[in-house]
């Protein structure tokens, strides 16, 4: 009997993912059929039928996007609650590294959400244009998304059925912390230069977005996500935990830290996604997307402020840095 598969959260999660996949399968078959016969110039009965069917795909994808987003939060929550069952794990970090599928799964989830968001943006443009100028493009994008989601579904089941409840796993402090002097940061950075980069790139992102340097803004945002990840894990996180040796991206999702992790990672990823998607749209379609840009800026600024606030408040309270 596999204890993991009987956990309520895991069951609910796997059921939800399977249902979504069922819907996506329907959408996939329809989209494939549409792509074969699509001809917007035609006035045949069949073309009208196809256009109607396209609405079903659209509805399904809209639903899937919203639920996938909720399920990512739920997924993190579910693996966090499993940490009691897996020996050695104290937060989601241990559980997710219990086998090789976990990290890949989490990464795929983030990728899928990004592409779904891109699809939504393309779709709204396509509908507004009335004559479906990028219908083929967005359909091919959907087919690509569908294949990634198929892999993800397989990974979901592989991941949860291969967590061993007897084999001890590493806890977050061994995964991220004690590296015996080895530098975990990329490009041989140290904390000082990392922080410098963090704020510098943030300013570059702001500048690029405001001055409409699209290519620069995409590149800068990508770099910012990476640097921000390391900064949170190795610097800002220690102030959230108020412990200089505690480096973990997952523990902050727990109740002890008032679930602040959901806010930290949420603002970072949603902000970055919106920024990148809107910039790509502006490069590719030459269309102004002010709303997304502004929300992206606001979210990223909240993220930076939140991280800085933790350090500032700690300093004001204790008069020293960690």
């Amino acid at each position: 009997m596999n204890e993991i598969l009987l956990s309520n959260q895991v069951l609910v999660y796997l059921l939800s993912e399977s249902i979504l996949f069922g819907l996506l399968l329907i959408a996939f078959v329809i989209t494939f059929g549409i792509l074969l016969k699509w001809d917007f110039g035609s006035y045949s009965e069949q073309q009208f039928l196809l256009e109607r069917r396209a609405y079903l795909t659209m509805t399904i994808l809209l639903f899937v996007f919203v639920v996938k987003f909720l399920l990512l939060v739920y997924f993190v929550f579910a693996i966090d609650s499993l940490s009691l069952l897996v020996p050695g794990a104290m937060c989601a970090a241990g559980v997710i590294s219990a086998n090789d599928y976990g990290m890949l799964l989490l990464f795929l989830k983030l990728v899928i959400l990004f592409f779904l968001l891109l699809w939504m943006a393309l779709n709204s443009y396509d509908l507004r244009a009335k004559n479906y100028p990028i219908f083929r493009l967005k359909s091919w994008l959907f087919i690509a998304i569908f294949f990634i989601i198929s892999i993800e579904l397989g990974l979901n089941f592989a991941y949860f059925s291969h967590i061993d409840t007897l084999e001890p796993v590493n806890c977050c402090s061994t995964l991220y912390g004690q590296l015996e002097g080895a530098n975990p940061l990329p490009f041989g950075l140290n904390i000082m230069t990392l922080l410098l980069l963090f704020y510098l790139i943030y300013i570059v992102v702001m500048g690029a977005m405001l001055s409409k340097q699209r290519v620069l803004s995409v590149l800068a945002t990508l770099l910012f996500v990476m640097i921000a990840y390391y900064s949170v894990v190795y610097f800002f996180g220690t102030y959230i935990y108020e412990l200089p040796t505690h480096n973990c991206p997952f523990c902050m999702l727990q109740v002890e830290y008032y679930y602040v992790g959901y806010l930290v990672w949420g603002t970072l990823f949603v902000g970055a996604y919106l920024g990148i998607v809107s910039s790509i749209m502006e490069i590719g379609l030459k269309e102004e997307r002010k709303k997304e840009q502004t929300s992206a800026l606001i979210l990223l600024s909240i993220f930076v402020l939140l991280c800085t606030a933790y350090v500032a408040i700690y300093y004001l309270r204790n008069g020293v840095f960690l």
């Binding site: 069951l11 609910v12 999660y13 329907i26 609405y55 079903l56 009691l84």
Partner: protein
Amino acid sequence: MRTSPFFHFLMLGFFKERKKHIGVIAISLVILFLLGSALFISSSIRYSLNQTLAWEPDFVVQRTQGGQKVNAPTAWIDDLLEVHGISKVTPRVYGRYFFKAKENSFLIVGVDFMDEQSNKALRMMMDETDLKQFLKGDNMLVGEGVSTHLKTHFYPNGYTFLTPKGVFKKVNLFKVLPKKSNLISNDMIIVPIELAREILGMGEDEVSDIALNVPNDDEWDNVADKISAFYYDIHVTTKEDIKKAYENLYNYKGGVFLILFLIVIVTFVLILYQRYSMVYSSERRHIGLLRALGWSIRDVLKLKFFETMMIVVIAFVLGVALAYLYVFVLGAPLLREIFLGGANLPNSVILVPVLDFGILSSIFLIYAIPFISAVLIPTWKIAVTDPKEAML
């Protein structure tokens, strides 16, 4: 308020057609109620057990022989006391006493009243007991289940135990333990340690097991290793092991329930699909009219989506509220027997209200996702209705 006419229209339509929705809401209520009750009970019991566990000693040391637990010698206590970082080493004497043809059993717990108790749960239970009075004769404190059982078998004031040596031992009933500790104390009898040894037939220098605390959490693994190395037949159980076992047990019960529930959900989806196909086909003219008035397919989809969301939210709130009432106000009659499994003495436990994000979101996801998925395709079918065709 750009969208307010839309919502006004949505509300009007919803109340005008409420008869159509009542059926679906009723089925949803039943499903949510069952699911919610089961999850509420399991989480409440889990919560209470965790509360109780917080009072338990960190380690329990037992002696095993051929995989079975046997009595440990008192000499072990002195060895354990020498390990640094260990505090509150308490010998424990307990065992089961089978009552009448082995139908039921009591848990006999021997307590050394002269010693400070390491087990806070026991201490809390006995807080109001007058110890001087209690220790004067052969007295016992009993749990509620034991007390009722004795009363119905005509032992209102005490019970005569038959020791393994064949001697009868009469013990007076001193007091009944408070009801709030029922989850652990229901079938418990607390007696002084020497009396317990006599009833259970144990030697003077024997204990059932030894409990000990290690105040520094970081040293738990070290201490467990050290103790394990003392003797070849020693077995160390930590609090974490017990916690995990409980977690597994209640996951198991809740999980099996959920797996059976999947069948219900599938049936529910099929019913919904059928029903909405029917309901919507009777609405074809209505939708056709809207389309003829200039509504786009997206507008119709939006209308139907909000309608579905309203049903989902109304059913969810009502269903969860009903389950809450049933479990935490009425005390979940019938259903909780599955989770408590009272094979021995009938138990009456007060379920402590626990509501957390995990449970609510689980209930919502397992209900809302299948629901909306089932409705999606009928909704689309009606939304793309050609106005001309529908009016014919």
